[in-house]
Amino acid sequence: MSKKDLGLLILILVVGAVVTAINPRFLSAINLANTSNLVALFGILSIGQAFVIITGGIELSVGSLIALLGTLFIDFIAVRELDWPLAFVVIIVLGAVIGFVHGWLITRLKLQPFVVTLCGLLIYRGVARFYTADGTAGFAFGQNFPTLEFLTAGRSYGLPNSFIALIVIAIVMWVVLHRSVFGRYLYAIGKNEEAAKYSGIRTGRVVIAAYVICGVLTALSAIYFAMYTRSISPASHGQFYELYAIAAAVLGGFSLRGGEGSLVGVLLGTVLLQELQNLVNLLGIPSSLNFAVMGGVILIGVLVDQQWGVFRARRRMIEATRQNVAGAPAE
């Protein structure tokens, strides 16, 4: 765990302690279960976003994708009566395909990630609303999918199954990001894509893969969100979720220029965001202030981090100067 992550963890604990002191319900089983479920849903989404951000890209369409894929999923199993495992696979594949298309447009046709995914944001939202004729996708009365409901919204040993899924995904993605060849390539490309290319890395493929991973994880969380809300009005479902995901990554120490950030960081970022949401509810702060609180905390967090970086760089420079003065120039 890096110093940055440790700082974030401490912040989470301190905020938690303060909230508990004011309203002890924060630590109640029901509140923790609820919050951890939300952490899981947003966590899966944010990990996907993190893989894109690490390459120096951005994925703005995930909120709309949550709406579109969630709508499709419910429609498949509730209206078209597909077997849910089949529907599940179809949605995941769809997420992968959309991610691939984004990556392809960005790497092969040299479009900017912001532009491509902004168009995605608009397109998928529109398609989702059109698909339901601006209606609501939901289950009919008495429609039950026990296994699916257990896996998505159920609990084991008191833990939401979604949270267990997040833990599994996080461990796998931690290995991918921090231990695999692919993960190293991601960091290298984020740091300096040109130099990575000159080292013989097929940078285009790696970047496309990052968008595919983001698409798959988004699709997965879309299913979780759909099963959590159980009814979707595509006009508003998942709105701003891309910003939650980006905020989690930024809070977790990711640089939007790429090449920086850790999986633990984005998880902690997600936890902090959900904690803040929870705080707004528990402390009786008007929920209209929700976004303002989040924005304020992110701004302060980033500011502290940046100032800390400046401070360290200055100290490094002073040290280097001293060394140069003391000895011969370092050559």
Binding site: A188, A195, Y198, G200, G259, E331
Partner: protein
């Protein structure tokens, strides 16, 4: 001007303009950088309306001189007299204020703005009123006479991006005139211009001269200097090698002054220990996007260091980039070990054992934020992994081995490469390729910005590679390096190989002659040029 007293110390060795006081005169200027005497005992003067050709090899001290005139660097000693006022050194403000303007090889224009906006950028005439809007009508009126003075054939509201390179240079010159420049310094303005464009620029220079504005024209293209210069100043190793008056300006004389010295005693790469072997890589009539109409053919042989000389902008780097798969090959064919090879990306080149040590180390050679070990294993990471997971042990083992073999000076292989010196960074670039199995090694300016000691080591490594049977292609602008290290020298001129010299014909003069597109003086008249 006339009412100001001339500095008493000033002497004049030039008599072409006996009646005009010089606008600028340098007296015994000296500038020392750690370990390098960049400029020493250098004196020259520029009279109003005079065109000075300034020539010298790369590294002869031209850039230092420009920096001193531009006020970027202060000389350690000497006097600079501008307009009769003596200075120890100029500040940027003094330089601009006294009417010295630069037009650099890399233009400083905003391509997205139009001509007028560029010329008066930051000095736009404003309309009265609280909004302080740009007065476009007035701007146009101010720009029109300037464009006329440079003989521009484009309008003030043309976007700069739509102009040709020569036209963009005219914009730069117009910009210089707009600040009432009295001396315009053109730093290799024609090196990236095609022939017809060059003509236009030379006309502009003549126009400036007619308006009484002085010009210092720096160029590697000696025939252009011959055509426009009133006087030629030759720099060599930071000192004045000589001044040629108008009637003595000719090509041979300039070359003689530029290289009039023996090869200095220095570390060399050593002689080849074996005769060059079979052809490893052969490129046949390939073309690059920079010179799409100039086919290039080149053969790299096993165990041989082929030097690739030529002036900056002659297409050497472009050739390397095509061979390494970074740029698209526009035609022709490449064979590796006799088999046709299609390299579509750097990854393809690396997979085939063709490696490049690029010119720009910090931008493309290494990743400054990664550790030495991570940089070294980056091109060959799968070999340091089990089931796609990086094996730190294998990675460190490779890195340690390379660190030891190449003598990379760093606290550990986990040190961030950004903190290393230039020489050690370059060794990391080499290490990552040496850890693999090179067949062809292309090095683009491998010793640029590297101190003498590390240079010698890099030469040694190149020779060791060649001895191990690798085909080495070394691009270099350092004449001594090319002659001291290479087994054969290919010289490029304006996108084409103008000749290939065998060891017997190695001389600075021959390389330079080929580099400017002339015939070399060969021992066997028929032999060397292919």
């Amino acid at each position: 001007m006339a009412h100001r007293l001339l500095s008493g110390a000033m002497t004049s060795t030039d008599t072409t303009h006996p009646n005009t006081a010089p606008f600028l005169s340098l007296e015994a200027v000296r500038k020392i950088y750690p370990g390098v005497v960049a400029l020493d005992r250098f004196s020259m003067e520029v009279r109003p309306g005079e065109v000075i050709g300034l020539v010298g090899e790369n590294g002869a001290g031209k850039s230092t001189l420009m920096k001193i005139l531009g006020g970027v660097t202060r000389p350690d000693s000497g006097t600079i007299t501008v307009d009769g006022v003596a200075h120890d050194g100029l500040t940027v403000e003094q330089s601009i204020g006294s009417g010295i303007a630069f037009v650099h090889q890399e233009l400083n224009l905003f391509e997205n703005l139009d001509v007028a906006a560029n010329i008066f950028f930051g000095r736009e005439p404003l309309r009265a009123g609280p909004l302080r809007l740009v007065d476009r009508a007035k701007l146009r009126d101010m720009v029109a006479p300037l464009l006329k003075r440079v003989g521009a054939n484009f309008s003030a509201d043309a976007p700069v991006a739509s102009l040709s390179l020569a036209q963009q240079q005219m914009v730069e010159i117009a910009k210089a005139l707009s600040i009432r420049a009295r001396l315009v310094i053109l730093d290799e303005p024609t090196s990236s211009l095609p022939m017809a464009e060059t003509e236009k620029l030379l006309d502009v220079i003549k126009g400036l001269k007619a308006q009484g504005i002085s010009v210092i024209f720096i160029s590697h293209r000696l025939h252009e200097i011959e055509r426009v210069a009133d006087r030629v100043v030759v720099l060599r190793d930071g000192t004045l090698a000589g001044t040629l008056a108008k009637d003595r300006i000719n090509h041979d004389e300039m070359v003689r002054l530029m290289i009039g010295r023996m090869l200095k005693e220095r570390e060399k790469a050593g002689e080849a220990t074996r005769a060059p072997g079979s052809v490893v890589l052969s490129a046949e009539a390939i073309r690059t996007s920079t010179y799409p109409d100039r086919p290039v053919s080149i053969e790299l042989r096993r165990g041989e260091i082929l030097g690739l000389a030529g002036l900056v902008g002659s297409g050497r780097t472009e050739l390397a980039r095509v061979l390494f798969g970074i740029d698209e090959r526009l035609g022709g064919s490449v064979t590796l070990d006799g088999k046709p090879l299609n390299v579509g990306s750097a990854a393809d080149a690396v997979a085939n054992g063709i490696f490049l040590v690029p010119e720009d180390r910090k931008l493309t050679g290494i990743l400054l934020d990664l550790s030495i070990a991570q940089n070294i294993t980056l091109p060959n990471l799968p070999a340091h992994a089990r089931r796609s997971l990086v094996s730190t042990g294998a990675e460190l083992a490779t890195a340690e081995k390379q660190k030891k073999n190449l003598g990379i000076k760093a606290p550990s292989v986990l040190t961030r490469t950004g903190t290393l010196s230039g020489g050690n960074q370059q060794k990391v670039v080499l290490a990552k390729w040496l850890a693999m199995d090179p067949k062809v090694m292309i090095l683009d300016e491998p010793t640029r910005g590297i101190d003498i000691g590390a240079k010698a080591e890099i030469y040694g490594l190149m020779r060791a590679l060649a001895d191990a049977g690798v085909a080495v292609l070394m691009i270099s602008s350092d004449m001594e390096e090319v002659i001291g290290v290479s087994d054969r020298i290919a010289v490029m001129h304006e996108g084409q190989i103008s000749g290939i010299l065998d060891k017997d014909d190695f001389s600075q003069e021959n390389v330079l002659l080929l580099a400017v597109g002339k015939k070399p003086k060969l021992l066997q008249a028929a032999g060397g040029v292919e």
